[in-house]
Symmetry: C2
Subunit: 477 residues, 2 copies
């Protein structure tokens, strides 16, 4: 058993700044938005994931004595600050979208308010968790979409970027649509379905493939899934598997039977294997494939007519290999001094990188058919009236303004912590998966497309837009 | 404080197989090689990293009561197996290259021997650790190489794929050449240098950039590194920084002074900033850049004449974004029954994917100048004679055989565990970094090149070659 404390998993500058804030203005309140600017793989939607681990992290914040001693030895921090850390009490408010929510660029997934030195210290872990888990759930949605209902199993732990990437990655993959995972720790921890059968080593370790299959049949007669590509799929693996299935059938055992192919030309091999199984009377035997799969390969082999019942997806999913970073950021949007809320902006050479100032909450707008028509950012302080003018945040859109009409606004933010106290009940992983699917079904199909998706509109209220324009003008005049 | 136990971080099939092995042949001994087939980014060399964490993992193996209960509830395993797990005693031998060793395709980085059901259970975590850490160290070597001695700082925790990816990734980055990391947990745990200064939020949180810089100067007069791109680098950030440096100088403070630029056209901005700093009398002030850097960008901006003293590298390094998977595998190469060693092979449609059977150790061959001339795989049982013929393992090489000559053979494997007992003293991280650099300097320069490196030769002894050819022929006759 290993103990670990992630409180010190922060960037050094968060400590130097916090130390500075304590000296310069310990009462200052800061508001930070966590959001991303770009959907990976040029996709249209990100599946926001990670809130469960965020809650676990925030609820365990605690600088140990050895942490304090370590920081003291760096000779950078004064005693008052070290004593503040030693007695650290989490005092922040946190608002977040529900886990599994499909989310879009430049809307706050999560907003944190609190003593600025505290809010600052959370930056690295909040980003690390949300960037990682949302990345994998987003990738999993893509992979599962092209499988058209066939189960996709997460098999990537051995190629994941560390143990957390394997464990939390598997959870995120299931939220994004996978049917289960090979990772037993993740399955246990999050109530997922553990999946898998045998490796090449099982087959190799016997004197022959026949002997290896026969031994497997003795141990697992009622769940006989055989890996058929250790030596030669069509000449050896499939014929030997059929022999085994016949023996089981003759004992009155009805399966499930199945084979897995982990190498070679998937389309050709599965077509031939399907024929061989069918001709031998095992049309119910399932074919699983698992060789460097991602959404492109799955789409291609299915278009070519590959005969596949389920997919095992490894490294390409668990690392989101085609675009392995969700570049979420955590930016100061307001401070509060003596009860006055002062919006803050960070400018940039590019319009997209300029932040959206102010304390805001995002809403989803639904038409009378229950379809989502876009999201809307409002200042936390404002009430919006039916039929208001709203402004498209995307400067490239031809139609820049709309009427809100009779669309119904549903808040996307829930309050998770109130002054450091957890006030939200996080659902179980499978409930998150279910919720995510429900929310995806509410979206316009065009934004779910894998290539060239249509942009889902994120709107600003008049107040949000005016505030931002005013602040940009002030700084650039 | 969180406790965790990674023993259950394995693929479900390792348990189903282990359960089968226990029923079918509990005495069977297996030998597994862990190796990779391809260097990421089409590079020539992988920096083998992860042994420290492998030792931590192996030394903590232990199925908890709740693990056993969980597995029992799956109704897949028999009581004898569950009781075996409950009383699990690690009994394996482990050989490994030293951490930091530059390694090449198809040579065993790590070899495990032991009861086959035990060896099988280690597959996922051994691969996960070695694949991840070696990937990042390998990437870091590339990035640091093009920085030509300028410090490269690891800044990627917020975009890493989970907390382990951030923490162990930072360690691997330092082994690969980075000067330190922003990740304080990693710095504390592994004795690395924690690095960083301020974020945009510090600057934004004050009423002006001048006020923010002045406050920073009050807190850190002797280490005044200022982030100058919150509003406008050349019109605002650099002039304000120079004002601060002048004030410090007038107080007799000599620095270090420095600026960091995190956006915009690095080449142009650093050239201009350098001129402004020099003209103001601060030629000793350092310029750090940190915006989506990798080996390509660093090489480009330096060729363009960018004026940079150090680099902060984030997401592209910590995820190895350009090629985010090292596809290491863990393959059965032999079994032992009643004291008889039986080599095992896995065939494949492609020559490269066919395994190398037998219990083997790798050696590095040195010429009289101490330069490495290639690696050599020998069966563990064989003694090789000076001037033997050795065989290039790369079928594409024109010259297929060589004489060993007077080259000196140094073993690359150390024994780490003997019958489950740790017998190796793992050096500290900075010693690993130093060792790695030493070993890289022994290699031919042509294999270190980032683009189109020359292949470093891995040879086989006559016995290794004959065994493999014989086994392939047996299976394909």
């Amino acid at each position: 058993m290993e103990t670990r404390n992630l409180t010190l998993l922060l960037d050094f500058y968060e400590l130097t700044m916090a130390n500075g804030f304590l000296q310069e203005n310990p009462e200052k309140i800061g508001y930070f938005d966590l959001y991303f600017r770009k959907v990976p793989d040029q996709g249209g939607v990100v599946i926001y994931t990670g809130l469960a681990q965020v809650i676990k992290y925030l609820s365990n914040l605690n600088f140990s004595d050895s942490d304090i001693e370590y920081l003291r030895d760096l000779e950078t921090f004064d005693d008052e600050f070290l004593s503040y850390l030693k007695n650290f009490e989490f005092k922040c408010d946190v608002w977040s979208m529900k886990e599994g929510t499909p989310a879009f660029p430049n809307e706050p997934l999560l907003t944190v308010r609190g003593p600025i030195l505290q809010v600052q210290l959370l930056e690295t872990m909040l980003l690390n968790i949300v960037n990682h888990e949302s990345l994998i759930a987003t990738k999993a949605r893509r992979v599962c979409m092209v499988a058209h209902g066939r189960p996709v199993m997460e098999f990537g732990s051995r190629r994941a970027q560390g143990a957390d990437a394997a464990t939390y990655g598997a959870r995120a993959a299931v939220i994004g649509g996978c049917s289960g995972t090979a990772n037993v720790l993740s399955a246990k921890q999050f109530g997922l379905k553990p999946l898998g059968t045998m490796a090449h080593s099982w087959v190799q370790s016997f004197e022959s493939e026949e002997a290896a299959f026969a031994a497997w049949m003795r141990v697992y007669p009622h769940n006989c899934l055989l890996l058929v590509d250790t030596y030669d799929v069509l000449k050896s693996g499939v014929p030997h598997a059929i022999e085994i299935f016949k023996q089981l059938k003759s004992q009155g055992i009805t399966g499930p039977f199945g084979i897995r192919i982990d190498s070679g030309d998937i389309t050709y091999l599965t077509k031939q294997a399907r024929k061989m199984l069918d001709q031998a009377g095992f049309s119910e035997a399932k074919i699983t494939i698992s060789n460097a799969l991602d959404e492109d390969v799955i789409q291609n082999v299915l278009e070519e007519g590959a005969q596949v019942d389920s997919f095992g997806v490894g490294e390409k999913l668990i690392t989101a290999a085609s675009d392995p970073v969700l570049s979420g950021v955590y930016k100061l949007v307001a401070i509060q001094e003596a009860d006055q809320l002062i919006p803050k902006i960070k400018l940039s050479n590019t319009v997209e990188k300029t932040t959206i100032p102010g304390f805001k909450h995002p809403y989803r707008m639904y038409d009378e058919h229950g379809k989502a028509r876009g999201d809307l950012l409002l200042l936390a302080s404002e009430k919006i009236r039916q039929n208001s003018t709203i402004y498209n945040s995307d400067p490239n859109k031809t139609i820049q303004t709309r009427r809100l009409k009779k669309w119904q606004l549903k808040p996307l933010h829930q309050q998770i912590y109130a002054e450091g106290k957890l006030i939200y009940q996080q659902p179980a992983t499978l409930a998150v998966k279910h919720y995510s699917k429900e929310k995806i079904n509410e979206l316009p199909e065009a934004c779910l497309r894998l290539k060239n998706p249509d942009t889902y509109d994120v709107f600003w209220s008049k107040q949000v837009r005016q505030l931002r324009t005013k602040m940009i003008n002030e700084f650039t005049k």
